[in-house]
Amino acid sequence: MTDLAVETNGLSRRFGELEAVRKVNLRVEAGQFFGFLGPNGAGKSTTIKMLTGMLEPTAGQIRILGLDLAKDPIGVKSQIGVVPEGLALFDRLTGPEYLIFAGRMYGLDRVTAAERTRELLDFMGLADRTKSLIVDYSHGMKKKLAMAAAVIHGPKVLFLDEPFEGVDAIAAGTLKAMLNRMIARGATIFLTSHVLEIVERLCSHVAIIDRGELVAQGSIDELRSGVSARREDGQKLSLEQIFLEIVGGEPAAVPELSWLE
């Protein structure tokens, strides 16, 4: 039997009349680089917020590394790292102050937190901005710092909400290298992204959510063969084509706007 890093059963979230996430059953095995995809408003961010304890599910169960999030939130949180939607930075601290603070929040002693901070600042190319307040960082620098804070305690599962949005190609390369190294060391990465090329290049497995429901889950090859079986042209499909096929968003199906002709 394979160890599951992330497991949800009947996970649901309702906002008044709207059921944003409906009975989602996710299975992410330990060591997988997992991409969580879906159109805008499909429920990706709501799901990742529930998985990381920032949002309470209306129904269902979440188990991270075998631990029940509702029963043992502290136990779960100490095993995971998160880069949430808004980056969660205390912007009136300097980069090093923030990383040390984040490290200590995850239980690192002050010396270890400082050592890892130095290493992370060097790795992320932020070592020359140690005196600047985070509020004065560029968006890309903030993203790298948030990523550094998420990995400072060596999490076993890393949740990343749109990690490459607003990051230049050089920084994206650095981040990808770091994520691949984490996977090589046995960590699990769960990311959402709109950039399907990146997901295709990095992730081994994906799940697709559409209108709150999980519509596909498995390795990219499994999804590809499933979709190809339905088509007659026999061509090798890209993740974008698989995605569009599953969520029913073929470009040809998009109606034209009368005043843009």
Binding site: L89, P96, M105, A114
Partner: protein, 546 residues
């Protein structure tokens, strides 16, 4: 291709937008409750405005009937200065100019200018001042209907001038405060100005006679300032010198013209797309060593790390710690020159040397209350980290309570030393009673503050004072706690005096502190669960993007 809508359509659309924003804020029960609190507080202020308007009307009637132009000038100066300075005091200094956010739409320049002016007219302060001018006109009309013919244009000119001056100041301040650092420096200067205002009374008492010749020169120069010109217009018109009245009125128009030009320069630059965002300057690369965080033996490292973070935040909020220094400055001012005074007199707000220390401590407590009842206000963008990290929210609140308590202790010590130095020794019985009372009041405020911070939080931005208030419900809760503390303290004090020994009051305070300590511990144990249950509401209110 479409063309931009005409000016009236654009103005209508902006009005509709404001209305929808207002209505949509009422969708939540907190929004409705906040509006109710706002209506109640505004009603109180409204009564004051109505009453003052009546007094001004009466004054104008008297000034015209008895030919006392100096009284009319004084009234106009009051309205002029109130219109000018009160918005700054109430809403502070800000970097935002609202119509600028609409510039991405094809807004006509004339619409943009009208919106900027409308911002000034629909301000409650402007409405109050316009009402006051109207009541003064009524008073003038009753006294002499003939004077009204000159009073209407004079007052209208003054109102226009005030409006342009107010808008010009805001527009230019926005320009200077576009960057975080300048904003903080100007904000700090504003607070220093307010603090230095406290010294006017004592300095006037001591050096007033030396300043008299200067005062008479200023009064002479004030003749050429708008309120005096407006009164001269009316006086000349009433006296039959139409030409002189016109010349005086032209003076008002010249002022308005200059201010209008200054405002137009700014508005034109804003309209052309001047970038007022927080532009980053290329900074010198600094490769400074990374120091480990703080450590305190016997205290949880998580609490220490949170405390260090909160202290750094406080120290990087110039306006915040200047506000905390205010009580100390007030003590210096109030006790100035009181040492050895054989017959201590009643001053503006203190009775005698033995009450200086308790009053000072009460003032310090009030400044701490502002922090304790909205203690997550500045955590905004970083708050999600406190929810995804493996910590209990109890630690977060303990760290904040520790910081607030330590500030209180430091300020109480400072106040004590200053009072002893400036006004002589405070009786030990008074010191004991004050400290016992302060301990109870602090514990009660922290207990209530921890709950209110979680139930009625309000996001605030560091380095910015503009329109930053705690939620109406938090303010109401805080007011209730302070009224309770004051009521119980007074009752205990008078009961113990009646019993013939004020030591009973101290024992009562300590007993209450003991009971409150148990309540504080109980609330602390609940805090993690409350924050976990309310995390969605907390993140929505405090971490929402600007």
């Amino acid at each position: 291709m479409t063309s931009a809508p005409d000016r009236s359509t654009q103005l209508f659309l902006v009005g509709w937008l404001r209305w929808r924003l207002f209505v949509n804020r009422l969708r939540t029960s907190t929004g409705k409750l906040n509006l109710a609190v706002q209506i109640i507080t505004s009603a109180g202020m409204g009564l004051g405005v109505l009453g003052f308007g009546f007094a001004l009307g009466l004054g104008s009637w008297y000034a015209i009937s008895k030919a006392k132009p100096a009284l009319l000038t004084t009234e106009l100066w009051l309205v002029f200065l109130f219109w000018l300075f009160f918005p700054l005091v109430v809403s502070g200094f800000g970097a935002e100019s609202d119509p600028v956010s609409l510039l991405r739409f094809p807004l006509r320049y004339s619409t943009f200018v009208l919106l900027a002016l409308a911002h000034g007219v629909f301000d409650p302060v402007a409405a109050a001042c316009l009402y006051w001018l109207a009541t003064m006109l009524l008073g003038i009309a009753v006294a002499s209907f003939g004077a009204l013919a000159w009073a209407i244009p004079a007052f209208a000119g003054l109102a226009l001038l005030n409006l342009l001056l107010n808008r010009a100041i805001y527009a230019w301040l926005s320009r200077w405060m576009a960057e975080r650092r300048t904003r903080e420096i100007l904000g700090a200067m504003g607070i220093l100005l307010a603090i230095s205002g406290q010294f006017i009374g004592p300095l006037t008492r001591r050096y007033g006679h030396l300043a008299l010749p200067w005062v008479s020169r200023i009064v002479l120069a004030a003749r050429f300032l708008p309120p005096a010109i407006a009164v001269s217009t009316i006086a000349a018109g009433r006296g039959g010198s139409g030409g002189k009245a016109c010349a005086e009125f032209a003076g008002l128009l010249i002022y308005s013209g200059i201010l209008g030009w200054l405002l137009a320069v700014r508005l034109r630059a804003e309209y052309r797309g001047e970038n007022l965002s927080e532009a980053r300057r290329p900074s010198v690369e600094v490769h400074a060593p990374v120091r480990a965080g703080w450590s305190v033996t016997g205290v949880s490292p998580i609490v220490v790390a949170l405390f260090e973070k909160d202290l750094r935040y406080l120290l990087r909020n110039i306006m915040g710690y200047l506000t905390l220094l205010m009580p100390v400055v007030v003590i210096v001012v109030a006790t100035m020159g009181r040492r050895g005074s054989p017959h201590p007199k009643v001053t503006g707000f203190m009775l005698g040397p033995s009450t200086y220390f308790p009053m000072g401590v009460a003032y310090v407590l009030l400044t701490i209350v502002g922090l304790a009842f909205n203690s997550l206000a500045y955590d905004g963008p970083g708050l999600p980290l406190l929810f995804v990290a493996p910590i209990g929210f109890r630690d977060v609140m303990v760290a904040k309570n520790l910081l607030h308590s330590m500030i209180l202790v430091a300020e109480v010590i400072l106040v004590f030393v200053l009072v002893q130095f400036a006004a002589g020794p405070t009786p030990s019985r008074v010191v004991g009673l004050t400290l016992a009372g302060a301990l109870w009041a602090l514990l009660l405020n922290l207990t209530a503050g921890n709950l209110i911070s979680l139930y009625f939080p309000r996001k605030m931005k560091l380095g910015q004072m503009r329109r930053q208030h705690a939620s109406g419900l938090a303010m109401l809760g805080s007011l209730g706690v302070q009224a309770f503390v004051a009521g119980v303290a007074a009752a205990l004090y008078f009961l113990s005096r009646w019993a013939g020994n004020t030591a009973w009051c101290g024992i009562g305070f300590l007993g209450l502190a003991g009971i409150t300590w148990l309540a504080y511990r109980r609330v602390l144990n609940l805090v993690t669960g409350i924050a976990w249950k309310r995390r969605e509401a907390l993140l929505a209110e405090l971490s929402r993007p600007d």
